[in-house]
């Protein structure tokens, strides 16, 4: 099909296999960190719901603090990933 692209040729990026492998490895490590954190939230909600309703930090309960922490962690890990990947280029 590429030959039929008269407006915008299909330019593929040239990539270094080592960089791809490095980024993939970092991605998997950070993914594992988040899965453990998210899994902890699911387990606490399902098996220790009472603990989630107790005040935890500054009067807010564990459910709220953990929920916000999960959202913040996603943003922090995403920024971290971007930073580490950039170094490898």
């Amino acid at each position: 099909m590429a030959g039929l692209e008269f407006k915008s040729p299909d330019v593929r990026e040239q990539e270094d296999a080592a960089v791809v492998a490095h980024n993939t490895r970092i991605g998997l490590v950070l993914f594992a960190v988040y899965v453990a954190f998210y899994g902890g939230f699911m387990a606490l909600s399902a098996f220790r719901p009472a603990a989630m309703s107790r005040p935890f930090l500054g009067g807010a309960n564990l459910a709220v603090v953990y929920g916000f922490a999960l959202i913040a962690a996603a943003i922090v890990l995403a920024l971290l990933y971007m930073r580490i990947c950039r170094k490898s280029k």
Binding site: M1, V20, Y38, M52, A63, L70, I71, A78, C85
Partner: protein, 642 residues
């Protein structure tokens, strides 16, 4: 409740729609080639793509459904926010870059990259169509459900209006205009919600809310001695017969013949309820009077206020973000439950009764009917919750309309950067949902019959203009997501099915034409689905779409990337088994029995409603077994898609 329509809302919406359509026509010339139409020529800036991710992802269900669920039940709605955001971690760390590296226009491209298998193309295209249709229904039904109270038109007008505008957007400039609609909508939604959150914190929490005009909101009576109600001059107590027998209600007829229903909190103390009766002839009564706004008619009272605040104060004044959450945790709020009673004459009365709920209860998981079993003792009761959280986590990175956005940027670094922008914007929005929901819970403007209206009504508690703007943004929200879905479906038809599977010889121009015709057809189907399923609860449909997407697509995507032994037969089988098993499970679940077929949920054939916890592992298992049973693929390095 009867909502007054707002001309300003109509005008603001037409203004947004006008801008979007003008951009679409202006950009139309850039989408003549297949690459331009399907992937905006790969020339979208990563920041624009990141915000467009937010515009694509934050659907009407996210916005209205989550706010409504938090406003009615508390923390449980926020579980969706957490799950929806967490799914982006899978997208960023596992899927984004390989998908960009391997594919060209559609998700099937990436899966099929090293196999060139017609089976994979067909299976992936069908799964794209199924997931997109499941996702389209709640969006279209949501558009119809909003248009009536917000803009004053009947349901079908909303569905047809949204369907036509979106089809026009998609057919004029494909992914280029879709991207800009999503960018505008994403920015508007996040900024507007941030402004409203600041207003909520500034207002604080009160036990005596007022509306936008400063009028006190009706506070339903509580702890009234039974003797005072039944012993009033001219009052008589109706017998507890028929469907009312054994129920915790007292029906009191006053001197004018009007029947009020009180709930027995204890033997001696009663609390005020609200009733909505739909008689056999279809006419409606509210609290015993004909439903309406005129003299001699009645409408349901708006609800939503705290009954006890920390320190016994009546009003907290402005609060910081943490102080607001702490205050809610230590307060008691009047939530409302309902019970349906079928009268002897065929009419149905819904009794809405007060349920004073402490913050320690509604600020923790398990406060809503959906997740209440999580507080139970039995392990199997918790599986529904775990399964939904798993589906939300795995579903995001498997949604075709999200995945195709990766082809609109120029390289993998841009794909990565735009995901990070998307995560930041979406994460910020989901933090705001907790404030919006809790703000609505105590805004004094909630409609007990319709949780989806909570966010717009919260805005109305501040002023009419804000209400008009948020209503218009809610519609623009539907436009953004629906255009992404129609794009994904039209790409599946024109690129995957017609060009790649059926091997039709289409040149670039014909391919774009085919995609546009497909978009018109999908747009028409979406309109029909929106009208046909008008009565369906929109919230769980989105959860179902996540379940199907995760079960059908994720095992194939992940194993293709990380297991060299994966074969084309393995991928095809995993998609088909994942899709069919999750769909079948959903159709046989208690939720479908109750809400779709109107049957007794106890007769459901599967033990819980959310299939992901079973069907995602099943997809992986099928892929592994079939791959091991079929010959290994010649190890070609990945090449550009065909």
């Amino acid at each position: 409740m009867i909502h007054e329509s707002s001309l300003t809302a109509v005008l603001v919406f037409l203004f947004f729609a006008g801008i979007v359509l003008a951009i679409s026509f202006y950009l139309g010339s850039r989408a003549k080639s297949a690459s331009g139409y399907f992937a905006a020529g790969g020339g979208i800036h990563w920041f624009v793509n990141g915000i467009a991710f937010a515009g694509d992802y934050l659907s009407a269900a996210s916005f209205l459904g989550i706010c409504g669920m938090i406003a009615f039940f508390g923390y449980d709605g926020f579980l969706y926010s957490i799950g929806y955001l967490a799914g982006w971690i899978v997208a960023l760390f596992i899927v984004a870059e390989p998908l960009k590296r391997l594919g060209r226009f559609t998700f099937a491209d990436a899966l099929d990259n090293k196999f060139n298998s017609r089976g994979i193309k067909l299976a992936a295209a069908i799964s794209t169509l199924v997931v997109s249709c499941f996702y389209l229904i709640p969006q279209m039904v949501g558009a119809g459900a909003l248009v009536q109270p917000l803009l004053g038109f009947p349901h079908y007008v909303g569905v047809i209006g949204v369907g036509l505008i979106v089809t026009l957007i998609v057919t004029t400039a494909g992914m280029v205009s879709t991207t800009w609609v999503q960018f505008i909508k994403g920015s508007l939604l996040v900024m507007l919600c941030a402004v409203i959150t600041v207003m909520i914190l500034w207002r604080g929490v009160t036990t005596k809310p007022t509306d936008a005009n400063g009028q006190a909101v009706h506070v339903a009576k509580r702890d009234v001695p039974a003797a005072q109600v039944t012993g009033a001059p001219g009052a008589s107590v109706l017998p507890e017969d028929g469907a009312w027998a054994g129920k915790p209600y007292v029906r009191v007829k006053n001197a004018d013949g009007l029947v009020a229903v009180w709930r027995k909190d204890t033997a001696a103390l009663l609390s005020e309820t609200q009733t909505l009766t739909v008689r056999a002839d279809g006419s409606k009564l509210v609290n015993g009077l004909p439903r309406g706004k005129k003299a001699g008619e009645a409408d349901l009272h708006p609800v939503g206020y705290a009954s006890k605040l920390p320190g016994g104060v009546e009003k907290t004044g402005p609060l910081g973000p943490f102080a607001f959450l702490r205050t809610m945790q230590d307060s008691e709020v009047i939530l409302w439950n309902s019970e349906k009673i079928t009268e002897a004459g065929g009419g149905v009365t819904t009794v809405y009764y007060q349920k004073p709920t402490p913050g320690s209860d509604f600020m923790a998981p398990g406060s809503s009917p959906t997740f209440k079993k999580v507080r139970g003792e039995k392990f199997t009761d918790k599986l529904d919750f775990l399964s939904l959280m798993l589906a939300l986590f795995c579903g995001t990175a498997s949604l075709p309309h999200i995945l195709i956005r990766y082809y609109t940027v120029k390289d993998q670094i841009s794909a990565r950067k735009s995901t990070v922008v998307g995560i930041a914007a979406i994460g910020f929005f989901y933090v705001l949902t907790l404030y919006l929901g809790l703000g609505a819970m105590t805004s004094g403007t909630l409609d007990v019959t319709d949780s989806n209206m909570s966010a717009p009504l919260l805005a109305r508690s501040f002023n009419e203009l804000l209400f008009a703007i948020i209503s218009a943004v809610a519609f623009t929200t539907v436009l953004g997501t629906v255009s992404g879905l129609i794009m994904a479906a039209s790409g599946a038809v024109a690129h995957d099915l017609m060009t790649n599977f059926l091997k039709m010889k289409l040149d670039d121009f014909q391919k774009v034409k085919a995609a546009k015709i497909a978009a018109v057809c999908v747009g028409l189907i979406a309109i029909c689905l929106g009208i046909f399923f008008a009565k369906l609860n929109v919230n769980f449909l989105v959860g179902w779409a996540f379940n199907i997407a995760a079960s059908a697509n994720l095992p194939a995507l992940v194993m293709l990337l990380f297991w060299k032994r994966t074969t084309k037969q393995g991928i095809t089988a995993a998609i088909v088994v994942g899709m069919v098993s999750s769909l079948a499970w959903i159709l046989l679940s208690a939720q479908a029995f109750k809400d779709v077929y109107g049957l007794d949920p106890a007769r459901a054939l599967v033990p819980f409603s959310q299939p992901a916890i079973v069907t995602i592992p099943l997809g992986f298992l099928v892929l592994i077994v079939v791959s091991l049973l079929t010959p290994r693929h010649e190890d070609n390095p990945p090449v550009a898609a065909h």
